[in-house]
């Protein structure tokens, strides 16, 4: 087992427009990316659980060319609307950092 924060090069979030936030996990080398990919542990269901979103509303992409996994979810509150906590969506990545990957 290894946590994402121990094996990924990048784990980040950002707005994809004012109504969605997109979260990326990027690996530095192809071998580690492939190992993580083989476990299938990163998927729409996991993202749905972490971000309290039905999996059908998660856009999940395994992006081989970038050695990356990408998930896009509807924002909790649109960017800048009343009660929003993160206008740029730049600090919503943290729940992924401690996810255990069975490698």
């Amino acid at each position: 087992m290894a946590k994402i924060k121990e094996i990924a090069q990048v784990c980040k979030s950002k707005n994809a427009g004012p109504f969605e936030v997109t979260i990326d996990v990027v690996f530095a080398d192809k071998r580690m990316f492939e190992r993580v990919k083989r476990t299938g542990a990163l998927n729409a269901e996991l993202i749905g659980r972490l971000y309290k979103t039905p999996p059908k509303d998660v856009i999940f992409t395994v992006y081989d060319a970038g050695l990356a996994f990408k998930a896009t979810v509807p924002r909790r509150i649109p960017a800048g609307d009343l009660g929003d906590t993160d206008v740029y969506g730049a600090q919503q990545h943290a729940p992924l950092l401690d996810v255990d990957i069975p490698i």
Partner: protein, 453 residues
């Protein structure tokens, strides 16, 4: 081999870039010089209020350097989504800077100004004909939402830029645009295919964000028939296959499918190869033409905001935060009602840093280990007077209400400032995020020309 060289000076006009990088760009004899002026990323305030995202001083610095470079090299200079949100006041503020620089430096040129702000009556007409559809996660549009918007802009594609350049404009200032549009326009106007043209635009609109290290700096793209070469112009930065591949992740729901006004840029089968140790060659992108659509963006007034910032170091209070806050809230409701303000007239929001201030309901850590909490108290009222009055009562009660076993009898909070209350003014929200279907690419974007001298 046919090629077209496109330069971007930075991610957003006014972010600044090293002058040396622009010199390096011009030494490569580019065919155009551009910069993206905007984004929805900083939130709805700029579109709603009409204010520019960056300061006039910082925009003027970037624009003056670009004008010098582009006009002396006799290549077009293009700024898209002027002033941040790309509405009429943002466009006029940018045009004002361009005219001022021209006066100061004695530049003479043909200027094109492409408008993107939309008439509400026109939008309602399209709505009545069923031509307006919601984008992801928004409700269908209705007349009341259109009327309630303080400003609506359309997001143009490449065609208005092509039109302006065909008319001989040397400097093109455009309202809200799809971010890659100015570069895609110049490359497709030079008869290069849409796929590499839009791909180049997609990278360049972010300045040197696709380089390592990323930064606000100049980049050059060489667009050829079947590929693009991207290179950073500052020797401290490199464009590598991985840095370019990962740039496809940036601010897009998908790394592979990029929806543009007249088609889709598909990067699924892209190949990223090192062209040198500093440049990357990208091939394999494709462009699928689609029926033309234009995105609408609008913002409406949500109320008037007042805030105060404070912190607590009291262990007794940290242990019973929820019941304390419920009691504080009840006090505020009662006291505001006593001076004639009902709860329907304001929103009262407590943001508790050290607990869930960053992620709210998405915060997975339920038991904070913090020894102190930072608190941002926010009131958004129907008027500024209401917001100020309710915030004042909120501050007093947050500071003074009693709670069981309280030891800090003189006050619950540390306030760093006097005055503690900050009037933050009008607060906006995005209210329109829809597309118009069956639309001519030029219809919504009238172009004005003037000889500046």
């Amino acid at each position: 081999m046919r090629e077209f060289r496109l330069v971007s000076t930075s991610g957003i006009c006014g972010y600044g870039f090293p002058e040396e990088s622009l010199k390096a760009a011009m030494a490569r004899e580019p065919d155009m010089l551009g910069v993206d002026g905007g984004s929805t990323d900083p939130g709805p305030h700029y579109l709603g209020s009409g204010k520019c995202l960056n300061s006039r001083m910082s925009m003027k610095r970037d624009i003056a350097l670009m004008m010098d470079a582009a006009l002396s090299a006799r290549i077009p200079m293009v700024i898209s989504s002027c002033g941040g949100a790309g509405g009429e006041p943002h466009l006029q503020a940018t045009a004002d800077i361009v005219r001022e620089v021209a006066r100061e430096k004695g530049h003479k040129f043909k200027l094109a100004v492409i408008h993107a702000e939309q008439n509400k009556g026109w939008v309602k007409g399209k709505l009545a004909k069923g031509k307006v559809k919601p984008l992801t996660a928004v409700k269908p549009l209705d007349d009341a939402t259109v009327d309630g918007a303080s400003r609506i802009v359309g997001m143009m594609g490449a065609e208005p830029y092509i039109q302006a350049l065909d008319e001989g404009a040397q400097i093109v200032l455009a309202g809200r645009s799809s971010d890659p549009a100015p570069w895609a326009a110049c490359a497709t106007r030079a008869q290069l295919p849409s796929a590499p043209a839009w791909f180049a635009g997609k990278v360049l609109e972010c300045g040197a964000a696709a380089a390592l290290p990323k930064g606000h700096d100049c980049m050059i793209a060489t667009v050829r028939e079947d590929h693009v070469v991207i290179e950073a112009l500052n020797p401290i930065r490199k464009c590598t296959p991985m840095s370019l591949a990962n740039h496809s992740l940036h601010e897009n729901p998908s790394p592979c499918i990029h929806v543009e006004p007249g088609g889709i840029l598909d990067t699924t089968n892209c190949r990223f190869d090192a062209e040198s140790d500093r440049a990357c060659r990208i091939s394999g992108m494709s462009w699928q033409p689609k029926p033309y659509t234009i995105k609408l963006e609008g913002a409406e007034l949500a109320g008037y905001r007042a805030i105060t910032i404070c912190g607590t170091r009291d262990p007794g209070l940290l242990g019973q935060w929820d019941s304390y806050l419920a009691f504080v809230r009840q006090n505020i409701v009662d006291k505001a009602r006593a001076f004639g303000v009902e709860p329907e007239q304001y929103h009262l929001i407590y943001r508790v840093y050290g607990r869930d201030g960053v992620m709210g309901e998405w915060e997975p850590v339920k038991q904070s280990q913090a020894h102190e909490l930072g608190i941002l108290v926010e009131v958004v009222g129907k008027t500024q007077e209401i917001a100020n009055a309710v915030l004042s009562i909120a501050r007093i009660n947050t500071l003074h209400v009693d709670f069981p076993d309280r030891m800090c009898k003189e006050g619950n909070m540390a306030f760093p400032f006097s005055p503690s209350d900050i009037e933050a003014g009008a607060a906006y929200r995005f209210s329109v995020f829809h597309i118009v279907e069956d639309i001519d690419p030029l219809e919504m974007f009238p172009i004005e020309y003037e000889m500046v001298q």
